[in-house]
């Protein structure tokens, strides 16, 4: 990362105008390589996994890994927008937990009140998305209009959301009634053309996210603000609106992830969604997004999320490193990648 070619290709920093050599010819070989890095890492990891345990390279295990990736992956797509914008959202794990709790309480109540368990479940899934949007809107307004650092706002809401869940659950767990749980279960356990529904949802969210990021004016504005907010403001970009929309989009992603998560266990407790923010942020960063904002890719994020799941899966299947150290691995990964990004400047 210290070679000049790498620096020129990466071009993360605002290069002074006296260095016209920078990126003088489109994306270089090195740049292509750095884009392929996460994918190569994933392939290498899979090869290692297959070598260590014969159960790894099975279709069942692959679908299992992808299904468990889906929650974090969907959240990471939203996180990718937030990080490209130059922001951060530390609250996503707590937000998921609170949304899960609220949805469970709502479905349990609505099944009786509406008289239709099916309607209650359908309305509950809608509520998950609406709650995510509302929480995101509140955070976005505080960040954009209130001009508070996103780190502070989402650190505060991280505590608030989880505390309210713990309060609603009275320190224990909120659980779906059995009949309702069975009714809701296919959303997590069901398949379409042999693909688990959460994986399909992950795919759809990622594709929509990629289109929004690369092919809409809003997506361009997100990148412009992350690259240089002042320049964006002077270029007639409505910075506040874009910021609020982005945190809403983040919340909607959390809502979607949660609506697929609830039927998995049918309950929410104070440990639900613990450290999801770490894994989601790590997925985005491993996927090649710049921590200081400006650029990143949805495809990279998807690969990053799968890569982290594969690591966790390998830890589960082998005794190489204790599975209890899974979060530590993610923590190390995030710090190492951030360090490498610094070195490139």
């Amino acid at each position: 990362m210290t070679q000049p070619e790498t620096r020129a290709a990466a071009g993360h920093d605002g290069a002074p105008d006296v260095e016209p050599g920078r990126g003088a010819s489109g994306p270089s070989a090195v740049e292509h390589l750095s884009r392929l890095g996460p994918l190569i890492g994933l392939i290498v990891l899979c090869a290692i996994g297959a070598g260590l345990n014969s159960d790894f390279a099975t279709l069942d295990n692959a679908l299992n890994v992808l299904t468990r990736t889906a929650f974090i992956g969907i959240i990471a797509v939203g996180m990718c927008f937030v990080i490209i914008l130059g922001g951060i959202d530390l609250s996503v794990g707590s937000m998921a937990a609170l949304i899960a709790g609220c949805v469970i309480m709502f479905i349990n109540w609505a099944a009786g009140a509406l008289g239709s368990p099916l309607l209650a479940v359908v309305a509950g899934t809608g509520l998950a998305v609406v709650l995510g949007a509302v929480f995101g809107l509140a955070q976005g307004v505080l960040i954009a209009k209130g001009r508070i650092e996103p780190f502070i706002v989402t650190l505060g809401t991280l505590g608030i959301y989880r505390a309210y869940l713990t309060y609603f659950a009275d320190g224990g767990a909120l659980t779906l009634e059995n009949a309702l749980s069975d009714l809701y279960a296919p959303v997590y356990y069901g398949h379409l053309f042999g693909v688990p529904l959460p994986v399909l949802a992950f795919l759809v969210v990622a594709i929509i996210g990629a289109v929004i990021l690369n092919k809409t004016a809003y997506g361009r504005h997100v990148q412009a603000i992350g690259s240089n907010e002042t320049v964006a403001r002077y270029a007639a970009v409505d910075v506040e609106r874009v910021k609020i929309l982005t945190y809403m989009l983040m919340g909607v992603c959390v809502g979607i992830a949660t609506l697929f998560y609830v039927p998995r266990l049918g309950s929410a407790s104070p440990t639900t969604g613990l450290l999801w923010e770490l894994e989601a942020i790590a997925a985005v960063i491993v996927g090649g997004a710049a921590l200081k904002g400006g650029h990143g890719s949805i495809a990279g994020t998807v690969i990053g999320a799968i890569l982290l799941s594969v690591i966790s899966n390998i830890l589960n299947l082998t005794s190489l490193i204790s599975v209890y150290l899974n979060a530590a691995v993610q923590g190390f990964v995030i710090i190492i990648v951030a360090f490498m990004q610094k070195g490139r400047r």
Partner: protein
Amino acid sequence: MSAPGLAIAFDGIVKRFGPVAVLHGVSFGLEPGKVYGLLGENGAGKSTLMKILAGYESPSEGRVLIGGKPVAFAGSRDAEAQGIVLIHQEFNLADDLSIAGNIFLGHERRKGLFLDEAAMRAEAAAVLAQVGLERPADTPVRQLIVAEKQLVEIAKALSRRARLLIMDEPTATLTPSEVARLFGLIARLREDGVTIVYISHKLDEVERITDEVVVMRDGRLVGRAPTASLSRHAMATMMVGREIADLFPAKAPFDAEAPDAPAALAVAGFTVPGWAQDVSFAVRPGEILGFAGLVGAGRTELFEGILGLRPGAGDVRLGGRPVALRSIAEATRQGLSYLSEDRKGKGLHVDFPLAPNLTLMALERYARPLLDHGAERAALVRAVEAFGIRTGSLSVRAAALSGGNQQKLALAKVLHPEPRVLVLDEPTRGVDVGAKREIYFLIAELARKGLAVVVISSELIELIGLAHRVAVMRAGRLVATVEGAEMTEETMIAHATGTRHDAA
């Protein structure tokens, strides 16, 4: 300060940043105890050369000699140890520290483990007396006005036993009486044998204070001569490298025949608290209106107020319609575009490729509803052609362009929403002479096509060559609008500084 000044020689200095050389073998000498005026346009290489001398940069080739002996500085501290101090255009003062704290920053006097505050205050008071700043040494720098900060910088240099002092545009923010005081100080330092390199665009000051003039252009030394032997016109011609007249297009007469037609932009009684008071002006389609004034006169702030970037109030009309602009986005929708003076901080996304920069202000045109990357690229091809943007490939980042080509891209960008009024703030800052000329011709062409153009500039020659009329601001007020034969440097400077010397 009885230490003698330094004899400096540059021997074939070459400085490259990546593949681009900004200094092409500069050689000349400076004698001790003289005041040198270092002249050259933005981008001529003056600042880079002085940064090499002061240890902030090291030369790619060539040597710096002090008293005949080659030296190699590893950093500015090495240079300071030899008595060479550069006073930056932007001050390097820590606002929260006291004057004494700043003067001794990095060179603190200690008594055992602890700071020797009393000794530092006493020494600081001595150098403050020398520069004529009547402030207690424990005053926080935050409380000082700009001119006082300038004096603190000089006091800091003196406390380091400076024997060669480099001043970069030291009077940019000073009032005439403060300038007079600074010149008195420079004269005293010269008597003490200190060598002074004085960088300035203000040729009258160079004429007043320097013994000899050294002129650079495009990274080369193009001439030196005793100041007394040169007229200001000769200095300017040496800097620009051609007769000034060739630099500008002929002024097209704009249609002033229809005074009843509404002005493209009319501003009446506009006030930006703390920056501009009760400013009124109008610019008609096809007209180029210049804005002159000292740094801090409130020109940029006035327009930021009009554009809704800072609080301000007044009557603003576009094409006769009253408007209240609250953001650049709104201004752009109403047909008013603004090019900031700060190209890298506010003008361009240097990390972005060219096409997204070009289309950012008019992106909705390319969203149907998904962005049409092909159309964006086609627009870039047209802009590269129309604005003469020189680039190796169309997919480079904006950072890869030279300053002049970046500026042409920035100009193309603000014109992309097809405005009727264009406000250009320092449109040729940091741009070489060739690109300057191209930009002047572009601006004149835009006006000929009916655009109303406002040009804010600190280069009076530019305004005289380009504008139909020039509004001069002083301390937040529009004090005069000059046109025709009145558009001379002398008249504008007189208005900008105030005829009486007590003007703030």
